[in-house]
Symmetry: C2
Subunit: 117 residues, 2 copies
């Protein structure tokens, strides 16, 4: 059983971008936070949906046929297998849920290390 | 594929307490919101962890051996099988994730209806 998690407090502990930290677990999924700015790589996750919730700032999730604009307090689930490209014009702080062990870029050659915080 | 969800906008659509609304899905789980005030029943869910995130207000999750005090922006996961009693002195607005079809009281005789919004 883990402690409660204060997202803002956890987000204050690091500054690097596109480098998710795992803050807890739910079922077989990891609860992760990240700071993002700029354009991430196009990728997909074939084994898991990806849950996005914006804690602060604005996040755009580009899909091949549309884009989803998320403000703070908004969530979106990218279904498994769907290509997407996160983008943030200014720094945004986000909360994500995905299958434990999921690589953030979907590619072991480019993925950020798996870290807990 | 569902649309993005603005939690505050969805919460503004209803007023009844302890009556969760499903706003989306992630894997085999339902994303739910609820307004709560006062003391809920002690219960447990044997088939799913239960994810709690406080959107506004304060929520206490009483466990048999401790209590978890959650403010806005804080989350906690009650592991499957663990008895818990949510409590809020003043009205609080919460976001939850649990296995699709989970009964809010853990008991079909007392559970709120399953509703989407």
């Amino acid at each position: 059983m883990f402690d409660k998690v204060n997202l803002a407090e956890k987000l204050a502990l690091f500054d690097d971008l596109w480098a998710p930290r795992t803050v807890g677990r739910f079922e077989g999924y990891e609860l992760r936070i990240a700071k993002v700015k700029g354009e991430f790589t196009w990728h997909r996750h074939d084994l898991t949906d990806e849950f996005f919730y914006v804690v602060s700032g604005r996040l755009t999730i580009r899909l091949r046929d549309q884009k989803i604009e998320l403000n703070a307090g908004e969530l979106y689930v990218v279904p498994r297998g769907v290509e997407h490209q996160p983008y943030a014009e200014e720094e945004a702080h986000i909360f994500m849920i995905e299958l434990a062990g999921t690589l953030n870029t979907g590619d072991e050659n480019t993925a950020a290390p798996q870290r807990e915080i």
